[in-house]
């Protein structure tokens, strides 16, 4: 059975590209959210296996979203992503249920799989 993914990012162009890329590699994208609060809501409704979470969001940032999901206990696998470099943010992986960090330009199904 395919892994289900929620894509959280405020840029529609990235969400569209990421959806195409992940579906192409056999993931099932069950939802998209454009800010942190919408993401919390979507996780509660859809129970995705993986949340692809952008760090910079218009309301609460990705770390905060991750922390709140972890607090709830039913945390999915969280993969942070950003257009920033892995050197900037990679060290934050491992906290608050975050499985890892993938730079946006290096996003692929196999990169996610490597972190799970």
């Amino acid at each position: 059975m395919a892994l289900t993914v929620l894509i959280v990012d405020d840029h529609p162009s990235f969400r569209a590209s990421a959806r195409m890329l992940l579906e192409c590699e056999g993931y099932e994208v069950i939802g998209e959210a454009e800010d942190g609060l919408a993401a919390l809501d979507a996780v509660a409704r859809l129970h995705p296996d993986v949340v692809l979470l952008d760090v910079q969001l218009p309301d609460i940032d990705g770390f905060e979203v991750a922390a709140r999901l972890t607090e709830n206990g039913t945390s999915p696998a969280i993969v942070l992503t950003s257009s920033r470099d892995v050197d900037d943010l990679g060290f934050l992986a491992g906290r608050d249920g975050v499985r890892g960090f993938i730079p946006k330009s290096e996003l692929s199904g196999s990169a996610i799989e490597a972190l799970l």
Binding site: S13, F14, S17, Q56, S83, K104, S105
Partner: protein, 586 residues
Amino acid sequence: MKSLRGALWALAGAGVLFGVADLALILDSSFIDDRGLWAAGWLAVAWAFIGVGLFAWGRRPDNRVGMLMALTGFAWLVAGAGFSSLPLVFTLGQLCGAVFFAAVCHLLLAFPGGRLGSRPERRIVAGFYVLTTIGVAPLWLFADPHASRLDCDGCPDNVLLVHSYPSLVTTLSTILNLLGAVLVTGVLVVLVKRWRRASPAQRRFLVPVYSAGVAVLFLLIVLVVLQAGGLGNSALDAIWLAAMVPFALVPFLFLGTLVRTRMIQSGAVGELMARLGETPRRGELRDALAMALGDPSLELVYWLPEAERFVDAQGHDFDLPAPGSGRAVTKVEFEGDCVAAIVHDEVVHDQQGGYVDAIGAAASLALQNERLEAELRSKVEELRASRERMLSIGLEERRRLERDLHDGAQQRLVSMALNMRLARARLREDPAGAEDLLDGAAGELDAALGELRELARGIHPALLSERGLETALEMLARRAPVPVDLASVPGERLPEAIELAAYFVVAESLTNIAKDAAASRATVDITRMNGKLLVKVEDDGVGGADPDAGSGLRGLADRLAVIEGRLEIDSHPGKGTTITAKIPCA
């Protein structure tokens, strides 16, 4: 001056003549006892008011107190005609007998400036004059001096008598007395208010006059009440006679107070001059002026000719009080230029007239020195504020740059990378799909390049450094969404900082026009004049631009302030906007 003196002497002559006439009328009176006492008292009061009044009038023609005092004296003489045994003169005297009462109240309210300040004051005085002339007239159509109520057997006939009607006369007098009481209450309210507003120095010179005035008012009220209460005529006469003694002293109290104020004031000027001989320390000048004018609330503000505004001693902006706010402004000039303004209590101005000007003139040199100091402080303050704003503008610009890069070019490049990755994955099975993805990637790349170019131009317009203002502005004009007419632009190269400032004035203005103005066209006009570069951008849009609303114009003003430039915005709703920058450019 000569004609005034002549007129005063003529009035003095008239006062003597009428006085002598009163004297004859009183001595010849057929209905009073103690004629000698009455005559002496009456003349003493009349001549005291007229003499002192005319003297004060001659000494201070700008102050109406003297004139009002003389008027009171003459009104008193007219009332004296009421003693006559001749029916016509008697009737006239009785008819106009109360006008002096109105004059006394006028004098009291107009003291010491000579003018009535507020509308209520003018109304009270006008009410008094109406009451004592038109108001009492109907009474004399029905008052028969021989009738039971007035009971004056020796009185001559009332020539105006239509029909003897004692009960109507009683009713009318009661009404008139009540109206009079209302007006007197008004006078007292005004005096109490003034008293509470007065500074200690002002109170000192108000005491004698107010107490004498109030005593006279009180005495007159007592007389009216006693008369209404039906006290015997002989007892009333005795009180009247006694009352004339303090009444005759009133004008001298007024005079004494006027002289004393002048003495106090000239003393204060001397003291001020002596203090200013030394170099006054900060704040001392204000204290000295406050003391000289007896106004502890006095403020000194200094004129900055370049910025065209007033600042206080700390260099902070100061808005002059509006007329009617209770504060008055006296501007001080030094060698023909405005250097400062004294902001003081309006009462001080009313009461001491040109004196504030004199004090200001005496202090003008010292004020000029303090002005320079305040100007310096204001500049330091302005620089500090401007530096702070520059700093935060710099930070804000960096933040905006990071955001623009992140949301713009970076996102496009990310998408492009993902599209290319997808295209590579599909290349073999789905060449057509891969081609579409590569087209998309190329589109994203073009857009990213465009956004990067736009960003770079916002950071620094390379064309400006390379080709100068004219070419850079042509480029701005071509890119603007409305037609832009470049009326005139200096062809020669100017210092880089000045070119850059002018460029940003035009760029920001055109951005605003495109965003908010709904204009059909714009005109850019750059000229050099008197060592300044004038950058003017005009549009025919909706107007109403607010320099404080957006950070754009504010930031522009700060950029200009660094090179001593200034920004003026003329933007009224419906009348378009004109932005003018004045940049020093030798």
